[in-house]
Symmetry: C2
Subunit: 337 residues, 2 copies
Amino acid sequence: MKTSVTWTLCAIAAATLAVSGHAFAQQKRTNEPVQTIPAVRNIDPAKVALGKKLFFDPRLSKSGFISCNSCHNLSMGGTDNLKTSIGHNWQQGPINSPTVLNSSLNLAQFWDGRAATLKEQAGGPIANPGEMAFTHELAVDTLKSIPGYVAEFKQVFGHDKLTIDEVTTAIAAFEETLVTPNSRFDRWLDGDDRALVKNELDGYKLFKDSGCVACHNGPNLGGNSFQKMGVVQAYKTASTAQGRVEVTGKDADRLNFKVPTLRNIELTYPYFHDGAAETMTQAVDLMGRLQLGREFSQDENAKIVAFLKTLTGQQPQFALPILPPSTDKTPKPRPFN
Amino acid sequence: MKTSVTWTLCAIAAATLAVSGHAFAQQKRTNEPVQTIPAVRNIDPAKVALGKKLFFDPRLSKSGFISCNSCHNLSMGGTDNLKTSIGHNWQQGPINSPTVLNSSLNLAQFWDGRAATLKEQAGGPIANPGEMAFTHELAVDTLKSIPGYVAEFKQVFGHDKLTIDEVTTAIAAFEETLVTPNSRFDRWLDGDDRALVKNELDGYKLFKDSGCVACHNGPNLGGNSFQKMGVVQAYKTASTAQGRVEVTGKDADRLNFKVPTLRNIELTYPYFHDGAAETMTQAVDLMGRLQLGREFSQDENAKIVAFLKTLTGQQPQFALPILPPSTDKTPKPRPFN
């Protein structure tokens, strides 16, 4: 009997130790230069549902063929996976489409940060002659001719006004929900030691020690500063994009671009503002040389790439929206004139 | 006590009467020339899931920009709502994209029926230089370079072979699920008298009595025969599409086209093989004149249109698929060369 009690006590003690050991392992890593993605809060579900429809609606373009999702495809990491995008009449865009995923975490929108908010950004492509090639007026006229939209706007906004302001507000609300939590790296940050293997942790250490993290930090591993493309070596590109100078007019801002997020980088190829880096290996190699003056060995490069692949988070999951039909009064799309 | 028993019996009798009265009202209408949409059966869910990804994957096109869903947009009634479609390099297609919804009910695919099955159809646009402008070989090479697809094909088909045969089989399996049951008209066919109002029933009667139903019958209200466009009056069109003759070589089949389904017609504008009829009102008017030699009054036309709007069924509801990413070995899309 005594032996049995002793064993029981031992078992309890061992279990307690195991639990506290586990609790210790699960301690959040709060001293890292990268943080987990904050949860989305307080977004009106009805506004999000409307914004989702608008995001998928090609009737916001002159052709009736191009929607927000055409270049920020939510099946493909919120990008089009093209070097530069295809716009109205198959025009070649001047720049690589940045991902819409986690874009609410950026300090500004577009590569040159010319839009302060997602709402401001959302109006840009609609009226850009090289992208959706429409006007805000025509987009609004189109929506106003569709009873399903008119009713939904009224329900969401509580008034009869339907302007580009309501349109971009709703699109931005949807975009704010497009976060990708619970990547393996986030689980590691949350204390799960088994979320990463040694190779990936080695890559993360290299990423920090080499200085990548100086720009790619915070919850979005980027998106929170403008930096010059080509700090140590000048960047050679055929792209005419000048970056931040086009917003500030300051010559010092020439070739300054918003640092892109590294979240979901496995999905958002090709890389850089000109889409010139086709693979993560190329991007890491070039970033090392151009920004840090460092030549990563093949092994180092592979480790950093292994780390980068741990940044793929849960992709937004939602039902494909069904769009309210046009009516006889809806302006016709004009793809070919 | 006796009274109580009597009341109870009365209540039971009344309830029985109500139930049988209800059962009478719910009697299915089985003598109509239109039938409800049969339920989808026995389709492998894993094959459907793979086919859905392929349907949404623009990497089956040369540009990496055009997917099946581009022209058969499941947010918009399985069509692009354009007169004729936009293909690679913004080429103007020769014909209006037919809806993919309920297409499994058609006797053949394409306006001229040149594909006997959905599987055969699925290979067409991929390799059509005016549409996705790819080749079956390059499409398959692309998929084979993507580990997520390789694993999923193996799981679905139970072998390592990944050819255009497996690709089109999976796409067709997904398309077979794209039926739209439970339209208001189907509920009326199922015996629900309240599903339609008088105006709509008047329209249905006109639709039958005028002869529309001679071609637009069966569960898909069409899709089950080829008919000449312009029976009573010749059809004037700028379209060069010749229809069924291009398949059979028989001159009698010139301008014979597959009768389009009228299901979800409210969503599938514009109408006819050349997309020339912008509204249902125009389509009904022209069909009356060209096919039946009948001039519908405004009131008659409006009634038929009211009936047609009852054919909008439950649209397919599913999560937007997340596509497996390309790898360094994946052939690059070539949108601009």
